[in-house]
């Protein structure tokens, strides 16, 4: 079961890589023409196509591309002819740092607040949580980001509005710089996760076996820990994975607002420059992370559910 799911994940990744690769084939004109501009002579275009390897059939290039990826070679950027792998490594670690900081705080917080909202449902707390989280989900990330900048950076001067991170930045400094971007990201996924956790716990508490446990006279805490929680792992794992996957996307906008030197910003810049190989590499990393997270969630659901783990 787990293996089957794992294989499916790999297959998806493979298909996605083909889609990402094929994208280039649909380009009106091709990269060589786009690079040299309209005034280029046919000989120059042909020479560059040869240099970029564009004159070989697509499936061979695809295999070459994979071979390169396996060796850590993602090709070279069209905009500045730099090695993409080198361009990405630092930015990837910055993005991961930002995303992990946001996740490390928001996941436990969302679980606690969501369960509380479910336990005390229809109370004042629950209703205000509903309105506030809906508000947070509705606001575009850049609104949250700019409001935070306005208050905490411009008015109070506590945190920098732009992130200045390079290889020499110390950990404490990094944390300080990353605060506002991380809080922006947290606002969105926290709200989303809380709503989902609340909904799935309420669904669960409505089941017959929970009622039975209550009727037996079991203490409330014990009912939750012994009966509800084991069944809640699967939905909760799913919620966390979906939220983290959302983080992958949210990070793009947030990085642009704070000019945070991460992968999302690189991708947006490359899209404006139509720097296809960099966009491909970034898209592949984002999509890979996304697929991996969904895969993890599925495997956790299988492993925590004996009925799925030992099918008849």
């Amino acid at each position: 079961m787990v293996l089957q799911r794992f294989g499916l994940g790999l297959l998806t990744l493979f298909v996605v890589s083909i889609i990402i690769f094929i994208g280039v084939e649909f380009l009106p004109g091709d990269i060589a023409e786009a690079l040299l501009g309209q005034g280029a002579s046919p000989e120059n275009v042909a020479a560059l196509r040869h240099e970029l390897g564009l004159d070989r059939p697509a499936h061979i290039r695809y295999i070459d591309w994979w071979a390169g990826v396996m060796e850590g070679d993602l090709g070279t950027s069209l905009a500045n002819r730099r090695d993409i792998a080198g361009l990405i490594t630092m930015r990837l670690s910055n993005t991961l740092f930002l995303a992990l900081t946001a996740a490390a705080i928001s996941v436990p917080l969302a679980l606690i607040l969501g369960v509380l909202a479910a336990l005390y449902r229809n109370s004042i707390y629950d209703r205000s949580v509903n309105v506030v989280t809906l508000g947070a989900v509705s606001a575009p990330e850049f609104l949250t980001a700019y409001v935070l900048i306005l208050y905490f950076s411009v008015k109070l001067g506590w945190f920098p509005s732009l992130s200045n991170i390079d290889a020499n930045t110390s950990f404490i400094d990094k944390l300080h710089q990353v605060t506002l971007p991380a809080v922006t990201l947290m606002a969105v996924i926290l709200a989303y996760m809380m709503r989902m956790v609340r909904a799935s716990i309420i669904n669960l508490l409505a089941s017959a076996y929970i009622e039975m446990a209550h009727l037996k006279g079991m203490p409330k805490l014990r009912v939750i820990v012994k009966h509800a929680l084991p069944n809640a792992w699967a939905p909760i794992a799913n919620i966390i994975a979906i939220s983290l996957a959302y983080l992958v996307v949210g990070v793009v906008v947030v990085e642009v607002v704070f000019i945070y030197p991460g992968l999302g910003q690189l991708m947006v810049d490359s899209v404006s420059n139509r720097d296809i190989p960099v966009v491909q590499a970034c898209a592949m990393i984002f999509a890979g992370t996304y697929i991996l997270l969904n895969l993890t969630a599925d495997i956790v659901s299988i492993c925590t559910n004996p009925r799925l783990l030992h099918p008849k």
């Binding site: 700019y146 306005l150 793009v252 906008v253 898209a283 984002f286």
Partner: protein, 297 residues
């Protein structure tokens, strides 16, 4: 759009049967404050979008004053970096941003809804094919996919609409297919099919009325999603292009003002947030009313 879904129309005999409009109106009066807020917001935005040219003091892209003028009598919300009136552009943004998001959502529903219906009715190879394609498309994060497609096809409004509508259609396909499958197995549908009804009739008269409620709710949610996505893309400079007045790009264009503690640049963002919030409130209430289940997801 709401009342007839909750209960069968007027079961009691003797009571005068109210018209549909009256029923809707009565439901709205009973609605919680959040839903009323949502309806009000949508009406106001719709009004502004339709009458933008009448309401605004200047033309959409007209340069009327100095750059970054402060709030005052002549320019109520000041001017932007090129000296265009902020208020004018904000009001036109309602037409452009909301209009484009609306068209995109409708298109996504046409694509996703129709394929979903077909997949449910012909549960053969077409269903298999469409479902697998959707699986793969959904395995890539939407914004990333949109970014990639926009790199390939370039950024123009028609491309933007088609790309986002296609990507969103995947989710609508799933919802439509799932809810239609519940109808397809019912006896009256089987009867209609045995009567030899045409495909069009099956879709419009047999399935559609029964899946309207979840689809309406989905429309609201999808609209919010599309709207936020277009705003995000425009904000990144890859969506609606200048000089068209659009809320996402307006935030970006005027972002420098934030460092001087001026809140003007975030007004368009607030306009976005209020509309999404309004629609979300309305959908929340609608889901609550139309489905017996209170907290499903």
């Amino acid at each position: 759009m709401t009342a007839q879904d909750a209960t069968p129309l007027d079961p009691q005999i003797g009571r005068p049967r109210s018209t549909r409009l009256q029923g809707v109106f009565r439901e709205i009066l009973k609605a919680p404050i959040t839903a009323k807020f949502g309806i009000l917001v949508i009406l106001v935005y719709g009004f502004v979008a339709i009458f933008a040219p009448v309401l605004t003091p200047y033309a959409e892209t007209e340069i009327v004053g100095p750059q970054f003028d402060v709030w005052g009598e002549q320019f109520i919300l000041g001017t932007d970096g090129l000296g265009r009136d902020m208020l004018t552009r904000l009001l036109f943004g309602a037409r452009n941003t909301v209009g484009i998001a609306f068209i995109t959502t409708v298109l996504a529903f046409v694509i996703g809804g129709l394929t979903g219906l077909f997949a449910a009715i012909y549960s053969g190879w077409f269903d298999q094919l469409a479902s697998r394609v959707v699986d793969v498309l959904m395995a890539i994060p939407q914004l990333i996919f949109a970014l990639m497609l926009l790199t390939i096809f370039g950024t123009s409004i028609p491309t933007l609409i088609i790309v986002i509508a296609t990507l969103d259609a995947t989710r609508i396909f799933r919802v439509t297919r799932a809810v239609s499958l519940n109808v397809v197995v019912l006896d009256y549908f089987e009867a209609a099919r045995l009567r030899g009804e045409r495909m069009f009739w099956l879709c419009i008269r047999e399935i559609l009325p029964n899946i309207m409620a979840p689809l309406m709710a989905e429309f609201g949610l999808r609209f919010c999603f599309v709207f936020l996505m277009i705003a995000a893309l425009s904000f990144l400079g890859l969506g609606i292009q200048p000089p068209t007045a659009d809320w996402g790009s307006m935030v970006r264009e005027n972002a420098v003002l934030i460092t001087y503690g001026d809140i003007t640049p975030i007004l368009p963002a607030i306009a976005i947030a209020i509309l999404t919030l309004g629609v979300n409130f309305l959908v929340d209430w609608f889901l609550h009313k139309s489905s017996g289940l209170k907290d499903g997801h």
